[in-house]
């Protein structure tokens, strides 16, 4: 029994016709043939999904009864009035909590289903696709409010739920927009989120994309984001990960037109026995693009974090300029950081550099704070917070900066830095 085995029940409960039905079947076929990745797959070397494959999930969506008021209060905690919120509860759009999309957005008639899958999770997402959302933003439109696609998972009465959100957004030429994709869950509930998000950024558009993963600490979050970047576009992305027992975010950025510039950022804070994996692929298909990558994380208790980033500069992508940096801070003796920054370069006139560090807090900085009579656990917390907030301030939008800082505060409140201090 695994995540593939509920397929027949799902297709009966949520029937589909035409392209969607065919897409579901192709996903299921691929997933069954390929199986979930194991640590023998080079891309999953440091992350085992055995915990996921051992569980039986239900593909039930939505809830039979209307939302009760407790749940609504709980969900509302995660809404930001400064954003346009689009809320999905248990995989189904909850119209009562959703704001109107700003001017310029349109629902697309047909979903452009991909013809191939990257791995079994990508395919399983296709197999259980339910009403995938495809929207477009007209050209030359500046959207003022950030749009937040919020996915909330409630407790399930039976076996844990699995949700497979799929979202496709086309951003028109010379438009500017900020998009958030956020994940939360009900208290200690256990569930699996397996998302696929695709962004197509047209010429000279300016896009900020943040993925906030603040799931419950018994949840699993496997996410994939594909971004195609055209000529002269500007892109900022943030993979913010503080929740889930096991999380993995795969970010693929394909640079398809010259002159674009991208900032790829990530923040992770793990505690307990959490496992957080960030995998990135920056694919310079054409020349004259610049990318900057910075992922930083702090690890407490027995948690583990993985960063595996690849920069590919293809033949002919001359004048590419790429940097990549991953810094890890280990707060506990039993935490583990694995870092695999990779360069694959097939063009000669390029600048590419990467770096990776793993270490502990600077003793002098700590001493300075202690000498100012700040208690040790607080000093550690302050320094680690400063370490991470550097990345948050890389995002140019202040509203998003602020929103991310709030999430970081909550995560820090949970970190048991004090306890770790006494032990070490």
């Amino acid at each position: 029994m695994n995540i593939f085995s509920d397929y027949d029940r799902f297709v009966k409960a949520f029937p589909a016709k035409g392209a969607l039905a065919a897409f579901r079947q192709s996903g299921q076929d691929y997933a069954l043939q390929k199986g979930l990745p194991t640590r023998k797959d080079e891309d999953w070397h440091y992350t085992s999904v055995k915990a996921v494959s051992d569980l039986q999930f239900t593909s039930d969506l939505g809830s039979s009864a209307p939302l009760n008021s407790d749940l609504v209060t709980e969900i509302k905690k995660h809404l930001n009035p400064q954003f346009t919120n689009v809320v999905f509860v248990n995989g189904i759009l909850e119209k009562s909590l959703t704001d109107d999309l700003p001017f310029g957005f349109a629902l697309k008639e047909d979903f452009a289903f991909p013809t191939k899958f990257d791995d079994a999770f990508d395919a399983v997402n296709g197999a259980y696709a339910y009403n995938p959302l495809s929207i477009s933003l007209a050209k030359e439109t500046a959207v003022e409010k950030p749009v937040n696609f919020l996915f909330f998972t409630a407790k399930s009465p039976s076996s844990p739920r699995m949700l497979h959100p799929r979202l496709q957004i086309d951003i028109g030429a010379r438009s500017s927009v900020r998009i958030l994709e956020s994940y939360y869950g009900d208290q200690d509930s256990r569930y699996l989120v397996n998302s696929v998000v695709e962004l197509n950024v047209a010429d000279s558009a300016k896009v900020t994309y943040a993925r906030i993963q603040a799931d419950t600490e018994s949840a699993f979050n496997i996410g994939r984001t594909r971004i195609n970047v055209e000529k002269n576009a500007t892109l900022e992305t943030m993979a913010f990960s503080v929740g889930a027992q096991l999380s993995r975010h795969t970010l693929e950025v394909a640079l398809k037109g010259p002159g674009s510039s991208s900032g790829i950022f990530g923040v992770y804070a793990t505690r307990g026995s959490q496992h957080s994996d960030n995998t990135t692929l920056i694919d310079h298909q054409v020349g004259e693009c610049s990318t900057e990558q910075l992922y930083k994380g702090i690890l407490d208790n027995e948690s583990r974090a993985v960063f595996s980033g690849k920069v590919l500069i293809q033949k002919g992508a001359q004048k590419a300029n790429s940097s990549q940096l991953n810094n890890n801070l280990l707060l506990s003796q039993k935490a583990e950081a694995d870092s695999k920054p990779m360069l694959d370069i097939y063009a000669d006139d390029v600048k590419a550099a990467h770096g990776s560090t793993v270490g502990q807090l600077n003793k002098e900085e700590l001493f300075y704070l202690l000498s100012r009579s700040i208690p040790k656990h607080k000093a550690i917390s302050m320094l680690s917070y400063g370490f991470l907030s550097e990345v948050i301030y890389k995002i140019s939008d202040e509203k998003i900066q602020h929103w991310l800082s709030l999430h970081l505060d909550q995560a820090f409140a949970r970190l048991q830095v004090a306890e770790a201090t006494q032990k070490s």
Partner: protein
Amino acid sequence: MDNKSSNNPLESYEYKYGFTTDIETDQVPLGLNEDIIRLISSKKNEPEWMLEYRLKAFRHWQTMVEPTWAHVSYPKIDFQAIRYYSAPKKTKEGDAPKSMDDLDPELIKTFEKLGIPLSEQKRISGIAVDVVFDSVSVGTSHTEVLDKAGVIFCSISEAVQKHPDLVKKYFGSVVPYADNYYAALNAAVFTDGSFCYIPKGVRCPIDLSTYFRINAKDTGQFERTLLICDEGGYVNYLEGCTAPQRDENQLHAAVVELVALDNAEIKYSTVQNWYTGDKEGRGGIYNFVTKRGKAAGKNSKISWTQVESGSAITWKYPSCILQGDNSEGAFYSVALTHDKMQADTGTKMIHIGKNTKSTIISKGISTGQSSNAYRGQVKIMPSAENARNYSQCDSMLVGDQCSASTYPYIEVKNKTATLEHEATTSRISEDQIFYLQSRGMDMEKTISMLVNGFCKEVFKELPLEFSVEAVKLIEMKLENSVG
């Protein structure tokens, strides 16, 4: 700087070691099975335990799958089409040459061509050499000086006969036969190699060196080197290799094991110049080697220095297991690839002991249509308090048809560890070229000077003779690399 493929680098560079030597050889039939292994073992008059070890390795090898994860591509190797033993025929059956003078004159000529002074009269380099020709060691020089110091330096087959205790104790202790596919194959069919033991407190009076040459057609070379440096010992070990020019690919799957006990230090340097294949990528050596050192004792040190400028495919990761407290490991590497060569090389540093330190400096230069990858792992085990690692991997690209990759694997399980990894990829700076040219240097000299400067950090780690050879080798390979 213009690097069109039409005036591709290294067009006129030719392999100068590509001759073959016409020597009568003693060979076993092609192919691999238990009988061949028994035959090799009996030819070497090995004790029963060695044969058992070989067979165990062979049986394990049969259960293994050929690894494919490296960033290299080659047609599948037919292990049954390789000859696993080939030795120059001795004048009388079973009669080993007593001194260098008894060797086949053809053989001595071969090594003179290669510039290896075998004859003891010519003490040109003052280095003790063990020469491995195809499958067997043909002679060791400077035995007197070494005997005086108590250093054992001989072929591994001789060591199996004369020093079985040492061999039994350390053989396979660093690279067990089950380690990987090629190590298992080597353990089953290894034919010869060097053995060296530095006793307690001895600083080896002269540098030691092994010279490998593949001569016969269809043969693979599977040599095995075991180097033990007892407490407080020191040794500087050099290794060189060449092969004749042939159209088909030849396999070289060696295993090198180093053991350093308390306060011992081993410096192991390699200049690898196997035949690279021709411009179309025909022929050349597949160099699939397992090299590993165990810094087992306190304050022990192991350093690997390599200049990889040959082989059609290089696939090796000289590694250090830093087990003793305060032990140190180092890896200095220059890998130059040209035409259709492929290299996937790097190191592994496994930190186990407290206060262990490792340094990795890797320089890759790719030209022509070659591909050059650095792959390295730094692993800090929970027991390795205050471990320190510094890694730097720089790649240089000459021409727009080649590729450079960097795949570091960093695994940290102890919070007191400090790790830094840095890598850059770029081509030769136009400003530097302009500066040197404005001083009246021609393009060729300019490039060779800049490349040598790029590699300097590694070259300075090589012993003097090797350092000169390495600079020359790189210069030679870069001739006409720019138009």
